[in-house]
Symmetry: C2
Subunit: 199 residues, 2 copies
Amino acid sequence: MIDSTPLPLAGPEAGLRADAVRNRALLLEAAARLAAERGAAAITMENVAVAAGVGKGTVSRRFGDRNGLLQALLDRSEIQFQEAFLSGPPPLGPGAGAATRLRAFGPAVLRHERANLDLYLAAEPSPGRRFLIPARQLRHRHVTLLVREAVPGSDAGLLAHTLLASVDLVLVDHLVRAGGVSPEQVEAGWHDLLDRLLA
Amino acid sequence: MIDSTPLPLAGPEAGLRADAVRNRALLLEAAARLAAERGAAAITMENVAVAAGVGKGTVSRRFGDRNGLLQALLDRSEIQFQEAFLSGPPPLGPGAGAATRLRAFGPAVLRHERANLDLYLAAEPSPGRRFLIPARQLRHRHVTLLVREAVPGSDAGLLAHTLLASVDLVLVDHLVRAGGVSPEQVEAGWHDLLDRLLA
């Protein structure tokens, strides 16, 4: 489990010198490749150093320990996703209508989290902190704004929680592993739910 | 936190002699009164013994330790709730149509869990076990059957997860504590959601 689950809402590079930023980005790139190819378990300080062609000390100086490295990797992944729905191209980003963006959001969450499943599962907060993670609060604000416009007369804040819960990482992982449900079926469920809500 | 969160789906009295059953019920009655009046924190082996007018050894023999006592109290509470929706009077129990029972279920969950808030919060499972608790699986099967009848053409299993998530204990507690949302507003949200789904 990753210790410190709050994710920043902006890049963590502020205050670093240009070469340090580049160096950090290269190490995270190597770590992301490792995760994609061999799973989060393969992400060790040593493996990342080898993959990036640097000494282990360089990785330690940048991230402290393995936990710091995993947290940085999760931040990087979450920031990419945030950029996609806050300022990326439509239908996920601005430029499309609220209903269209809402339809696109569920599948985007599902695909993004499945592509980074190990990392997100490792960072899953305890029950008491589930709704206190800044990255989740940002998703909730985003969906609330879209719901307010696309589903008039609803309690947008509550409905946004319900929508996000329908594509919750832990639920989907449980369904896929234990329930014989495919990720595609969960995406279809999101669209069916929106068909009914937008009717 | 209560250690062992799986709840039985039937009474735990099987195999006990009649006086032991009566004795156990009296102790749980006393513990439930304590919880209602002073919160779950007040439930200690000693307080329950005093409240029931027995020696502390009697409480220990029956429940082992405080954790066993809390678990038994949670089981008792959950079994009462299960009886209400499985075999109690309508609109929650059989005798009413699926749509009516579905409407009644959300508010019933909300009120039941708020009335036993301390206990349910203490028993809240870790993320990885959230969907593996027998009592939750029973609720899910129940709601799935109602959804299958009341919302034709939907993926009933998925929609049941979504509906249950909208009245999730941890979410509602978060909203009430931090978000300035009232339990009544969450109940209204349940009805609004069903209005849209049943339309």
